[in-house]
Symmetry: C2
Subunit: 327 residues, 2 copies
């Protein structure tokens, strides 16, 4: 059993007071060159590492930040994590990731645990959270992917407009009967994307074909089967996210439908999956890395008391034309 040295032991070893050791560690306050060397030697000799729990207790901050995401299965997040770390590690923060299973209770549980541990800030991706849940929390928060409330800074894209763009891409490609596989009813972004589809169809006086795909591959596949069974002449599908686009594509492959010649598909999000399948899927790509970077920067600024003027950042997306649409 190896003993972990404390600041007291370092002080005794170096023949100084704990205050002096603390000064050396934090490079703060006056300390003579000679004393400093003595202390540094003691630290090395005893293999001392400051205890962050004690430090956090006194300072009421931990140099840790957390993020809560609904489902790390979603290939959206790895990139996000990398972006956030690239920003925060450089400033001495450690980041921890938590998986909420898209479950409000779990989200609040994690939020509470974080507060109890003096986590300095949190980046949250959540479909259920609103500002009332954050009101009596002391932690700076940045919302990603969705706006919680005017008072809580956010980093998002314009789901409605970008979804319109997706649908318009199909229209411009000459598609006549365009269908939509929608995401869950209770997720606002999913509703915005659906509304965009409906509005475009309405404006063009075209019929609307919607089937619910729950943001998942398997269910989207089934939804596609249903759709194509009822309406055989559908020649394009806009799916509410990329995962469902993969499902739709699989359904077409199984039915022997040539994509994109007979039917075109466009997804939404820009996750990696769209490039692993054949044909590769055309999609509206969110600048995930950039969004993560921005969110992290905003959070750090909040933590350090530098409030930013612009608090609700909306990023542009990129239409990535690949192999499931003709141009």
């Amino acid at each position: 059993m190896i003993h972990i040295a404390t600041i007291k032991e370092v002080a005794k070893y170096a023949n100084v007071s704990v205050a002096t050791v603390s000064r050396v560690i934090n490079k703060k306050g006056y300390v003579q060159k000679e004393t400093q060397t003595k202390v540094e030697e003691a630290i090395k000799a005893l293999n001392y590492r400051p205890n962050n729990v004690a430090r956090s207790l006194f300072k009421k901050q931990s140099k840790m930040i957390g993020y809560i995401v609904p489902d790390i299965t979603n290939p959206f997040f790895p990139q996000l994590v990398r972006a956030v770390e690239d920003v925060t590690v450089a400033q001495g923060y450690t980041t921890f990731l938590c998986n909420s299973d898209d479950n409000l209770e779990k989200e609040l549980m994690y939020l509470n645990k974080m507060a109890e541990n003096y986590i300095d800030g949190v980046i949250i991706v959540s479909n259920h959270m609103n500002e009332s849940h954050l009101a009596n929390l002391q932690i700076p928060v940045v919302a990603l992917d969705r706006v919680f409330h005017e008072s809580i800074p956010s980093v998002t894209i314009d789901n409605y407009q970008e979804a319109r763009r997706a649908v318009m891409h199909l229209v411009e490609n000459g598609c006549e009967k365009i269908a939509h596989i929608s995401g869950p009813e209770n997720i606002i972004n999913s509703q915005l994307r659906k509304k965009a589809y409906q509005d475009v169809m309405m404006a063009l006086e075209r019929p609307v074909y919607i089937s619910e795909g729950h943001y998942q591959m398997k269910t989207a596949q089934e939804a596609t089967f249903r759709l194509l069974h009822e309406q055989k002449d559908i020649d394009a599908i806009f799916t509410g996210n990329d995962v469902m686009a993969v499902g739709a594509l699989k359904a077409c492959t199984k039915l022997g439908i040539n994509v994109p010649k007979e039917l075109q598909i466009i997804g939404f999000d820009g996750i990696e999956w769209t490039e692993t399948v054949s044909p590769e899927i055309t999609t509206i790509a969110q600048p995930i890395y950039e969004m993560g970077k921005k969110a992290a920067t905003m959070l750090l600024n909040r933590i350090n008391g530098k409030e930013e003027g612009q608090d609700h950042i909306v990023f542009p997306t990129e239409l990535k034309i690949r192999e499931t649409t003709t141009h």
Copy 2:
């Protein structure tokens, strides 16, 4: 600015000592029914939540456990995370995930941060770690996916034997010229899988065709192009992991090769991707959820001082025959 109540304030409000409040919180020691109610009311009135930092400092444990994984992009991990949480949350632990980018330095950094924060235990998936790095750490550790050292408990599969099984599956399907797309040289599991391939080929006196795919889709795709360019009559590929199998499949699709009629493919790991593509990929599936659950249980046992007899668990895998092999 809302004030966060401390135990002292609760004590004053309830007209008792802090010790009594502590007893109520922890349901430990004697406390009169009536007093308990008083305290509970005070807790509710002040919206008190115990501060875990202070608690950790005294108890030298935090009720937090961490895992370090090389790359959350790897679809292997989400399932693992879920498994671990299912076990640990039930016992009051909070889990935090860290991404090491397959980088030893980052792994050690996280390990240190965890130690500094009295994290109670860690599950590590790492290609670089060995016991010397863990020796002067006080934290119970369980290794997943790879054995670090005899002294460090682990949960793994038998990479060599299971890889043999994969190759034998191709042999039994009547494949004549079987190639291998290998993973990185410095990863032991990747080497074991490669060795298994070589040994089977050797035993059957067949030629060996190996191309390096670095565990990645894009590079595996290129490796497949190279391979098929040099040896046109290859009729089967065993890839060192599933991600590379997806790459190999894409290469075949692009070359107009019919899978599985002209060429069969088998992967390794059992990640979700293998089911998102068409045809779905045959693979050796690791029981990821079970492995995570076991690892978590072992870790918790270690944390609670209940050492288990069996410290190196080797799980069986399942050969999932899908659409890229004939039977």
